[in-house]
Every structure is written in C-alpha cells, then in structure tokens.
C-alpha cells in the first residue's frame, strides 16, 4: 500500500503530461510529435489509475482500457499518415506540409 499523498502522485502525472506537451511544441519531426502525444495519453491514463486507487472504484481502470483502445487506433492511423507524408514530401518536417497556406504577395 502506498502512503504517498495523492497530490504528489497527481503532480507526477502532470509533470509527465507537460513533458509530452513540451515535446509537441518543440519538435518539428512528425514522428517525435506522435511519440509526445503517446506520452500525454499515457499520463492521462495514469491520472485515471491514481483516482481509481484513491477512491477504490473500478471506473478509472475501465477508462484506462478505453484510453488504450483510442491510443491504438490513433497510432495506426497516424503512422499510416506519416508514411503517406514521407512518400509525398520526402521529409518528416511538419513545415513541409503547408499547402493550405495562403500565397504571400510580394
């Protein structure tokens, strides 16, 4: 049994979430952005498990299983999209995909 106060546990999950957020904001490689999104999903699941352990309710663990299903679907579609982007632009740079950008008049 853990006797750590729940605030510390929640802040640990929050720290992981913000590390993922920094990864999404800083990286320009689509691949690393996907990985940071995985980290954020995982830390959100960690919050559910902490709540489930604190209130002794199975709902949090059920939600973690749903997060797992969402992450699996997201990864399969996202990786297929990354493959398409790489074959089309020959690069993994997110800034290469800018065809919706307006033409700049000179």
């Amino acid at each position: 049994m853990l006797t750590i106060p729940i605030e510390i546990q929640l802040l640990f999950a929050g720290l992981l979430f913000f590390l993922g957020l920094v990864g999404v904001l800083v990286r320009r490689n689509i691949f690393f952005i996907m990985m940071s999104i995985e980290i954020m999903l995982n830390s959100a699941g960690l919050v559910f498990i902490i709540a489930s352990a604190h209130w002794k309710h199975p709902g949090g663990q059920v939600m973690f299983i749903f997060i797992l299903a969402v992450a699996a679907a997201e990864v399969s579609i996202g990786l297929a999209l990354i493959l398409r982007v790489f074959h089309h632009y020959k690069s993994l740079d997110v800034e290469a995909v800018n065809e919706l950008k307006d033409e700049v008049k000179e």
């Binding site: 929050g14 920094v22 691949f31 980290i39 663990q61 797992l68 579609i77 493959l83």
Partner: protein, 172 residues
C-alpha cells in the same frame, strides 16, 4: 513501498526527458520503452496489476513495436542530419516557460482541492471485468467500432495507388 514509487517516478521522468530531447528516433523509442516499464511499476504499486500487464503488453509490446517498424521503413539517416538544424537550443525556451507556468497552475489547483479518501478494500481485476462488461458495455462496443475504423483507415491510407498508365506515356 513509497521508495519504489519514487525510484520508478524518477526513472520515468528522466527517460521521458531523454525521449523528447533525443535526435535519433530509435534511441528515443527505446527510452520510451523504459518510461512505459517504469509507469507499469507505478500501476502495480497503485493496486492495478492487470493494468500494469496491459501497459507492458499493449503499450510497450504492440504500439512501440509499430513505431519501430515504421522508423525502420523510413529513411532516418537523412532526417538525423536535418534534426540538428531543426532542434536549436533557443527553440526550447518559450515552450518550457509556458509549460512551467501551466504546471504551477496545476500545483495550485491540486493543492486547493480536498481529496476525501474512502477505505473500501481494493479493486481486483475481477471487479474491473464485471464493471467493464455490465456497466460500461456500450462504451466497449463503441471502442470496438473505433478499432475497426482504425483498421480500415490504416489500410486505406497505407495502400499505394496503382499505376494506370504505361511508363512510356508517363510525363517527366
């Protein structure tokens, strides 16, 4: 037991920092496996052994292996050279400041809410299964449809277009 939590937490945070700061995609994925294993330890300590097993089997075993397959299909040698240009040190400053401000916000929020605890025993995997297939059954079916959409979407996006013209007629 608390010591194990702190050790696993420090390992998780350090390996996550290595994931987001790494230039080589394969090394980042291996650090991410370490991070997921240490989070699985934390799940085990939080009385959720079934979820810890799922974390190792599905996250570290299936999702990250999918990532590694895709990394090996892409040509990351070229990307590694570009990565040095993309990842300048000054790019880290503003996102880290914003994240630290939001984190302080979170600290304030967490410490201003009371968390009344209940002592009603422990959630066994059996309770989890019963809750999943009675109370949450519609959500289970919706997530099954979501996975079907994932399969169909990945197949559709991953299939190459067929060539319809002979290469003699192709425009240069």
């Amino acid at each position: 037991m608390n010591l194990f939590f702190y050790i696993a937490g420090i390992v998780a945070i350090l390996s996550t920092i290595m994931v987001i700061a790494q230039k080589n995609a394969i090394h980042a994925l291996l650090y991410m496996i370490v991070s997921f294993f240490s989070i699985a330890v934390i799940f085990y300590l939080l009385d959720a052994p079934f979820i810890a097993a799922l974390e190792i089997i599905i996250y570290a075993g299936a999702i990250l292996v999918l990532f590694i397959f895709v990394t090996m299909m892409l040509n990351i040698v070229i990307e590694k050279k570009k990565e040095k240009r993309w990842l300048k040190p000054k790019m880290w400053v503003i996102p880290i400041i914003l994240a630290v401000v939001l984190f302080l916000d979170l600290v304030f929020a967490v410490y201003s809410i009371p968390f009344p605890s209940v002592d009603k025993g422990v959630v066994m995997p059996k309770h989890l299964g019963v809750a999943l297939f009675t109370q949450y059954l519609p959500a289970v079916e919706i997530s099954a449809m979501l996975l079907l959409v994932g399969v169909i979407g990945a197949y559709h996006l991953g299939s190459q277009e067929k060539k319809v013209t002979h290469r003699f007629f192709e425009k240069k």
